[in-house]
């Protein structure tokens, strides 16, 4: 076998392997088990054990289409958990390129699964706001001044649940699904200066740096990437049979199903890396042997 030729293989062949590795497990689901890790369990237990029915959680959609396949399942899982437990949810968005639309789409989708809940009483979408850190700082004083209208244009005072929610003091927790730096701002600005507990659901690309915040107790939970989302799904399914039924719906895309695909493609990538290194070391030894 000519190893040199294998190293110069057309990159489109590699792309085909990756594409096949992605498409086949979508068609033929593997149903691989998902185990949970401490950072995700901490997030789950914070909401499950330390919040009561009627408490308020702020969910901030700080991502867009560039990371939607990772952050959407996290958002869905957290929203479903809150709704199943009777926790009120205030949804906002601080990411300019798509945060608002992701918030609208995911909240509408999950709320439709809980027809007993009422918009404005059990959950509300206050929409997007510019300013990022300025908005975060101002919310400590007044949600109304930052979000005078909700996403549909309803005045703040006309939203029943918001009459009792003035600022961060009336919120028990913020869960931010984030791409980029906004998740860090919740930890190093809002938690540090105003003491609001923060759960961050970052993309896998950003997740490694959040371990430092988690260790320093600036966060109370971390859902890293699609794996983190699948772990949270596992935990809510184990606790709430209603949600387990929902997640078993055929055709519903979940992080757990995504992990099947992830597993196959990871194996392909690992194989490529190992093979590349095998060829490298073999080629390195050849000239020495020739001498």
């Amino acid at each position: 076998m000519n190893l040199d030729r294998l190293m110069q293989i057309d990159r489109r062949i590699i792309y085909l392997f990756v594409a096949a590795g992605t498409i086949l497990p979508i068609i033929f689901l593997l149903g691989l088990p998902v185990s949970t890790t401490p950072p995700v369990r901490m997030a789950f237990e914070r909401i499950e054990n330390q919040l009561e029915k009627g408490d308020v959680v702020l969910v901030s959609f700080d991502y867009g289409p560039s990371s939607a396949p990772e952050n959407d399942p996290m958002a869905d899982a957290i929203l479903r958990h809150c709704f199943a437990k009777g926790i009120k949810v205030v949804v906002i968005a601080l990411y300019p390129l798509g945060g608002l639309s992701e918030a609208i789409e995911e909240l509408n989708k999950v709320a439709a699964e809980f027809p007993e809940l009422e918009y404005g009483v059990d959950y509300v979408n206050l929409g997007y706001k510019d300013g990022a850190q300025a908005a975060m700082r101002k919310m400590n004083e007044s949600f109304k001044e930052v979000f005078p209208l909700d996403v549909n244009g309803t005045p703040f005072d006309e939203i029943p649940m918001m009459r009792d929610i003035e600022n961060y003091g009336d919120v028990k927790l913020v869960a931010t699904l984030a791409t980029g730096i906004i998740g860090e701002w919740w930890a190093n600005l809002v938690n540090a200066q105003f003491g609001l507990p923060v759960i961050v659901g970052p993309t896998a690309v950003s997740a490694p740096k959040y371990y430092a915040y988690l260790e320093a107790r600036q966060m109370v939970g971390l859902l890293g990437g699609l794996k983190g989302a699948s772990e949270y799904e596992r935990l809510v399914m184990d606790k709430y049979p209603r949600l387990a039924e929902l997640y078993a719906t055929p055709g519903l895309y979940t992080a757990t199903k995504g992990m099947d695909v992830q597993s196959i493609v990871h194996l392909i990538m690992i194989a490529f890396i190992l093979f590349g290194n095998l060829v490298y070391f073999t080629q390195k030894r050849k000239p020495r042997a020739a001498k």
Partner: protein, 210 residues
């Protein structure tokens, strides 16, 4: 049969994926259209979600209580003076307030929200109390050696060089972990698009045709 929206989404997805074969006009058109849509999206959300509820409506509905927002609006508009040569210098005033505010906020965020808690949490007990002591040593050694590596005011020779080398090894472990996570992240994005193509476009299309 997939609806019009799904067909449009599938078309754009395939246009983008065509770049994997080679650069082509379909990809370039899709890319340019995306750039235009992004900017149009900004216009929509800024106008609808910030300028209307936080500036325009408060001024219209209760000017006496919100008159100070005129200055905020004025500062915002001043930013656009940079496009008029004669009065471009006016935009510096707005830029000065904007940049000044955010660096001020950032400074406190960095010092109070990052340096102090992170340094505080690194002050771990190194007196023996089981396996945790070993991990504490790892953490303290890691943080200190990485900080020494990034200290370029002293030459990395001798003891400093040795500690700096340990810092590099910690960084390599971290970058390896970051690489692993990045692979995961990128694949997740691909999974999202493929799930759409297979489950929402291809399957219904095949079922409708068959």
């Amino acid at each position: 049969m997939p609806g019009l929206g799904t067909w449009l989404a599938a078309f754009f997805t395939l246009c983008m994926l065509s770049f994997l074969y080679k650069d082509n006009p379909f990809f370039r058109v899709a890319e340019s259209f995306f750039a235009g849509l992004s900017l149009g999206y900004y216009i929509g959300i800024v106008a609808n979600q910030t300028l209307k509820p936080n500036l325009v409506l408060p001024l219209i509905q209760d000017f006496s209580a919100n008159w100070n927002l005129v200055f905020a609006g004025g500062l915002g508009l001043m930013l656009y003076f940079r496009y008029i040569k004669k009065v471009a210098w006016v935009s510096r005033w707005a830029l000065a307030v904007y940049v000044g505010y955010y660096v001020g906020v950032n400074m406190m965020q960095k010092l109070h929200g990052e340096v102090i808690p992170q340094v505080g949490d690194t002050m771990l007990s190194l007196s023996y109390s089981g396996i945790d002591t070993l991990w504490n040593v790892v953490m303290v050694a890691g943080v200190l050696s990485v900080l020494v590596y990034f200290y370029f005011s002293a030459e990395h020779k001798g003891a400093v060089g040795g500690i700096s080398r340990l810092g590099i090894w910690f960084l390599m472990v971290s970058f390896g972990a970051a690489f692993g996570y990045t692979v995961m992240g990128r694949i997740s994005l691909l999974i999202g698009r493929m799930v759409f193509l297979v489950n929402e476009w291809a399957r219904p299309l095949i079922e409708a045709v068959i």
